[in-house]
């Protein structure tokens, strides 16, 4: 009993001293509570469906950020990993009859291989060349898929995949928890030493090379990691929708990923996730004017970018928090002095 009380008190202290002091952490906490507690409020399959799809896209956007936001290797064909993951697990599920628990990770491994295959040649290219070349790969794969209708179902895609579970709640919690865990892992990766090297590669690749770090190896690592997470997202998407279609490789898919991530704010992981959780439900809200849906959406993105070119989330974060000039700890905006070192915040 004493132990429980001890840990409870520790938890409360932690909450009060670390979480409740910063509005951004409060928002993350609220987000967790809302997304995990949503089934208590509503059991509507339509709402569940939107949240599940949003979670899958959040993994996708975060994995784009891991590669392109952090290392600055602008990947304009991220739909490739998504599509490879989807098709990989779909083929394993329908032709080899591996259950979803096995086929999704294996599909992600296939996506990692795809990341290696395109990463090795593409890393000789720089900046804009890389962006425009990676853009080509999903289209090439699309051509191959349409040309092999026996294996891949051609233009119609592969339908009739197994689902993880048939229960509504099970599906919801499965996808949401996978999303939270994967995004947390990605955030941890970017917070580690590797993440710092990724940052450094974006800022100044030459300096990183001069420090004796093999940048090509790290860029390849970013490609494979990103491919892995995007592949999982693709596999889950295929199994949830029960179909892996060519739309997963469409040009608009690659574009949409970039829009989500940049809208949310790159090189943060939580930015793209928030971007997806704002934009995808918003697009559903716009269904009340079905004809003008995409038009309003594009105008919305344009206007937000016009005022917040860094992305929405970093802008909001700068408004509600400020960094202590001495100890670099973040503080609530109205505070006069730093909460740790009591230095004056201007």
């Amino acid at each position: 009993m004493g132990f429980v009380l001890f840990y409870f008190r520790k938890l409360v202290t932690l909450l009060r001293n670390e979480v409740l002091v910063l509005p951004s952490r409060i928002i993350v906490g609220l987000f967790l509570i809302v997304i995990l507690g949503l089934p208590l409020v509503t059991q509507d399959p339509y709402v569940f469906r939107i949240v599940i799809l949003t979670s899958l896209f959040a993994i996708l956007a975060a994995s784009w950020d891991l590669l392109s936001g952090f290392t600055g290797q602008f990947n304009f064909g991220h739909a490739l990993f998504f599509g490879v993951g989807a098709y990989g697990s779909a083929i394993l599920n329908t032709h080899v009859h591996i259950p979803p628990w096995g086929s999704v990770p294996l599909g992600a491994v296939v996506a990692v291989l795809a990341g290696l295959v395109i990463g090795i040649p593409c890393l000789r290219l720089k900046h804009i060349y890389l962006a425009l070349t990676t853009f080509a790969f999903p289209i090439i794969l699309f051509g191959i898929i349409v040309a092999l209708p026996d294996l891949t179902g051609g233009e119609l895609g592969m339908s009739g995949l197994e689902r993880f579970t048939s229960s509504l709640m099970g599906n919801y919690y499965l996808h949401v928890i996978i999303m939270l865990v994967l995004c947390f892992i990605m955030w941890k990766i970017t917070d580690s030493n590797t993440g710092i090297i990724f940052h450094a590669i974006r800022e100044d690749e030459l300096a990183v090379k001069a420090s004796g770090i093999n940048t090509t190896r790290y860029k390849l690592l970013a490609f494979t990691l990103s491919g892995f997470f995007a592949g999982i997202s693709g596999g889950l998407y295929a199994h949830y929708m029960r179909i892996a279609g060519p739309s997963t490789l469409a040009v608009s898919m690659s574009f949409t990923i970039v829009i989500w991530a940049i809208f949310g704010g790159v090189a943060t992981i939580y930015g793209p996730v928030a971007g997806v959780f704002i934009l995808v439900p918003l697009l559903e809200v716009f269904r009340i004017w079905p004809e003008y849906r995409m038009m309003i959406f594009s105008v919305f993105v344009l206007v937000i970018l016009l005022y917040m070119p860094e992305g929405l989330i970093p802008w909001v974060r700068d408004k509600i928090e400020k960094e202590c000039p001495r100890c670099k700890v973040r503080n609530v905006a109205p505070r006069k002095s730093c909460r740790i070192c009591t230095a004056d915040l201007d």
């Binding site: 040649p121 080509a136 030459l206 594009s298 993105v301 344009l302 016009l306 070119p309 860094e310």
Partner: protein, 287 residues
Amino acid sequence: MNIIITGLITGSMLALLSIGFSLIFGVAKIINLAHTAFYMVAAYCIFYLSFRLGLNVILSMLIAVATVTLVGLLAYKFAIDPIREHEAAVMVATVALAMFFQEVILQLFTFEYRSVDFLIQGYFTVGGNKIFYQQLLTFGVVLLILLVVWLLLMKTRLGLAIRSMAEDREVSNLMGMNESRLAMITMGLSVCLAGVTGAVIGPLYVLTPNMWEEPMIMMMAVVVLGGLGSIKGSFIAAYILGFAEALVVFLLPTGSFLKMPVALIIMILVLLIRPEGLFGIAFEEER
């Protein structure tokens, strides 16, 4: 014979588009993914003016090009210029612009296949193949425009300014060239080229609100293959890819699906051997 004609026409279209694209990239470092959307807007403008209002086709082409240039400049001024320093944001803004144009066109004209009348009717046959006069005319006009662009870039003060700005922004700025005004002029020029492409190529293609996607992919392939910022490279690469596309379409059974993948595979193979494209210059790494 069909292969040659289709290759020439596709190649000309790609050449015009990619030259406009690399102009604005060279001067202002803007990756304008909405470039082909302007081409679509121009084609629809001509359709509207000549069909709905019954204007002369040539007159409506001129009006269309002027309108598109104006729209492009406005879009640049209000959506792209304020966020110029943020490269990624610019890219997304241009994608959003392209989507916006597509939706506007979709609302105005619905998702139906439309076509614009030929300027000159009639055709002649060579070896059993029809060659429309329109195709010849289009090809001639494209060559003329390419010549004009080349003269503009090589022989005028404006061309000199554009080239030097593409070479080195800071030094050109120090030499007294007004960077933002030049970017504006180049944007106008580039959008105008896209509009002209829409005007001359429009009659040969079917108009749909998503007609901008495919040329955009091909255009980017051309630009990368030819080397960014190299007009000569874009020109040659455009015809290489145009012919490759035509060959695939006419010779393979599932050609229309495979034409883009094959063109892109060519691009990637070339890039593996020459990472800076056919005629690009290998840059020293910038700090």
